[in-house]
Subunit: 220 residues, 2 copies
Amino acid sequence: MEELEIYAWSKMRHSFNSILELPERYRRNLINSIHGAKTVFLVGTRNASHQSNLAVFSQVLHIGANPPLVGLLFRPDSVQRHTLMNIRETKVFTIQNVRENFFRQAHLTSARYPEDVSEFNQCDLTEEIIADFKAPFVRESSIKIGLSLNSEIPVEVNGTHLIIGQIELIDIEESLISDDGFIDAAQAGSITSGGLDSYYSLKRLARLSYAKPNQGIKEI
Amino acid sequence: MEELEIYAWSKMRHSFNSILELPERYRRNLINSIHGAKTVFLVGTRNASHQSNLAVFSQVLHIGANPPLVGLLFRPDSVQRHTLMNIRETKVFTIQNVRENFFRQAHLTSARYPEDVSEFNQCDLTEEIIADFKAPFVRESSIKIGLSLNSEIPVEVNGTHLIIGQIELIDIEESLISDDGFIDAAQAGSITSGGLDSYYSLKRLARLSYAKPNQGIKEI
């Protein structure tokens, strides 16, 4: 740690072993927030008895555009277990953006409600059915995606599960889509989350031109 | 599409089949931006001949905190192929935050440079070696993470690869870590990206208390 002195600020340095020795809550906060702000979603499902469920979720990956695929990482031991069970049972789910005007309600969906209680009711969000899709959407969202279960990939190192969904339905305000297909997340009112409990709104910096060697970057 | 008329705004609605029929560039923009703003990183590697490489990357998952694991999704056919080859060759890589004051340089790393050219030089970012770690860091970042390759999981549906890294080193300004381990992404100067080419800065909305049924949400 000798090189600390060359910095104008103090450094915190950790190794794999020193991370393992941290108090559990400190480690959970540190490792969950170290990635920065992530996209945050509400995931809507129903079980076989049509009981609806809604869960806030920030572990989302773009898997591919053709075919259109989305990945969600689940911890089976978490409050998201109802969501995972429902996806396995019904093979469909929805994801939709969290907007600044209802992020507290979205956060409240992470409370451990009993299985026979709908987070839509408890958290004051409106269940919406679109085009007979078999999983519920959130009316207050501006970007709504219906997905079918494509495959489930076990992540053996820690028992998590990557759920791959195929996009079956997109429902979005037309004004949010630019001529080339791009959706501006800030214009959509979408927010991001950091760690387990923090939320951030977005300010657009720039849209940049396709990068090529030895050419300048332009704003588009 | 009869129910369009009940909305005060126009709706764009797509099915799986209508997405497949979209022009390729429009579909790529739409499906890449539909998730909203994602965390964005620079990934640093070297090949066996010590040639360094740097790539901007937004496909990052928190896999777990104990042990501390991070996942990155790679498309083998992309400009990120050098990064994937280097990780397989040397078994180590770094990830670090993109800050608002150098996001144009970070974007420029996505240009298709030849393998024997270092993006550090081409994009005016400073290569930094920390504690003899075998992959290069970016001096301009405020959150730096060194990882070893834990495992590689093929995503068979579209030939992508989920790389799981174990955190071996964290180097961060001490003032960015709160007493309970949380790192505020906005305070760290971290930004997010949307779609393939857009960047957003963050404004902290709130840090919210752990959600419990029938209890209000408080700011903490």
